[in-house]
């Protein structure tokens, strides 16, 4: 009885054979539809900031550094790979790639930044895209955006004067650590 049981256990093991891979020498490709590192296609991006304002991890930052240049910065270190940005991008400029081996000792390796040339609204002085103007509205319906955007600290709105310090702050954005008196 005891022996028979042990033989059965061994049989399970040997029928399964050896299942572990010789990883990392033998790669295991990710399946189709895998949510790996998001990749931005700068030719398609219109700078609408939909990804930045819907990122649950708040890890996509946007800043206008002058009236014609908008910077989009994706800091992968906090990314949860939920794929929300890719879902919402109206131009499908974001794809979730199959890259998942992202461990690095240099944060810059996994940071992506886009410099986007924008038009400037002659009336309010903010960036906008000339061609189509209702993308933000379309985004709203997808993500229930009934919140006040101004309250969001991390999405920088356009500023009239470019200050290098502010940009630096965005790049090295860290959580505030003290009680604001």
């Amino acid at each position: 009885m005891w022996l028979w049981n042990k033989i059965k256990q061994l049989a399970i093991s040997f029928r399964a054979g050896m299942v572990t891979l010789h990883y990392p020498f033998e790669p295991r490709p990710a399946p189709e539809g895998f949510r790996g590192q998001p990749v931005w296609d700068h030719t398609k991006c219109i700078g609408c900031a939909g990804c930045a304002s819907h990122c649950p991890a708040r890890t996509i930052f946007l800043r206008d550094i002058c009236q014609e240049l908008r910077i989009l910065l994706y800091d992968s270190s906090r990314c949860t790979y939920c794929g929300r940005c890719a879902d919402l991008c109206p131009e499908k400029a974001i794809t979730m790639s199959d890259k998942f081996e992202l461990a690095t000792d240099n944060r810059q390796d996994i940071t992506q930044s886009l410099e986007l040339f924008m038009m400037t609204c002659q009336r309010c002085g903010r960036c906008y895209d000339l061609e189509i103007k209702n993308y933000i509205d379309r985004l709203s319906s997808l993500g229930y955006r009934y919140d006040s955007l101004e309250a969001r600290k991390v999405i920088r709105r356009s500023t009239a004067d470019f200050s290098p310090e502010e940009l630096e702050k965005t790049v090295t954005y860290e959580r505030p650590g003290r009680l604001e008196k």
């Binding site: 042990k6 061994l10 093991s13 040997f14 299942v19 572990t20």
Partner: protein, 299 residues
């Protein structure tokens, strides 16, 4: 010339002991459907540990000395062995009792080291180890005493040869008892209680690291090899050829087979609790006494 035999003894054990651990790990891995580490992994582990900083976590000289002394005692025991059916150079100044002393001494130093570390887990581990030693050393002793009874001599060569000299009832009973006890001697499941990883985190060795730990690991490897060697030389000694080289080769193969067996049993059992194991050990001790009794009667 005879000193060379002692050196061969030591070299044989030192070189092969980690490899046997590698075999154990590989076999276990295969049963668990894994690739497992390469066979030479234990050598790398030892090298790695030896290259690390020697931390004295307890701040106590005993803590530092214990691994050295445990290693030295087990090496001394190994040096006495009549490897390959040849009496050791040290045979004239040692006998079976010396061997048992040295073995117990190494266990004792492991206990001392554990207690010196002051860690509560090490304490629990040491108490478990102590119980295991108290319950299982008699089995080892009885096995050798059976040989002594048969051969009428305390000489190691004679005693190990004596174990298998008459293959009667006592021989088979003792062999069965020893095989079960072997699982505990090499501390594999179901009897790896003193160093149960998920319960008491390797117990006696928890505070050890670096070279100190490497010495303990080596000590354990040597001890495990010794116990299986004893099985091969004792119970299967009659089967080994007279030529030393051939004898050694066959012994090595048999020890490997034994380790594969140990690994298979280890991989297919959960760990017993100390109280359950103690009942088991008590039966083993009793049976070994019976075997010696039968041996005395010549059965």
């Amino acid at each position: 010339m005879k000193v060379t035999a002692v050196i061969i003894n030591l070299l044989y054990f030192l070189a092969l002991a980690p490899f046997l651990e590698g075999v154990m790990r590989k076999v276990t891995a295969r049963i668990q459907s894994r690739q497992g580490p390469p066979l030479y992994q234990p050598y790398l582990d030892l090298l790695k540990l030896l290259g690390k900083e020697n931390l004295n976590a307890a701040g106590h000289p005993v803590f530092r000395l214990a691994p050295l002394l445990a290693f030295a005692s087990v090496l001394s025991a190994v040096a006495l062995l009549p490897l390959a059916g040849q009496s050791s150079f040290l045979a004239h100044s040692s006998d079976l009792m010396t061997l048992i002393y040295f073995l117990t001494l190494s266990g004792f130093f492991i206990l001392i080291g554990a207690l010196a570390s002051g860690n509560p887990f090490a304490g629990v581990g040491a108490s478990r180890e102590m119980m295991t030693i108290i319950m299982l050393e008699p089995v080892l002793a009885m096995t050798l005493i059976l040989g002594v009874v048969r051969a009428g001599s305390l000489n190691l060569l004679a005693a190990t040869g004596g174990v298998s000299s008459a293959r009667g009832l006592s021989y088979f009973l003792m062999m069965a008892v020893y095989l079960v006890a072997l699982q505990a001697f090499v501390s594999r499941q179901p009897f790896d209680i003193p160093e149960a990883e998920v319960e008491i985190l390797e117990g006696p060795y928890i505070e050890y690291s670096g070279p100190n730990y490497a010495l303990f690991r080596y000590t354990l490897n040597l001890k495990r090899m010794f116990y299986s060697w004893l099985f091969v030389a004792g119970f299967l000694g009659f089967w080994l050829p007279g030529s030393p080289v051939l004898n050694l080769a066959i012994q090595t193969v048999l020890i490997l087979v034994l380790f594969v067996l140990i690994s298979v049993v280890g991989a297919t059992h959960p760990r017993f609790r100390m109280d359950q194991a103690l009942k088991f050990y008590a039966v083993l001790v009793l049976l070994s006494l019976v075997a010696v009794g039968l041996g005395v009667r010549g059965w």
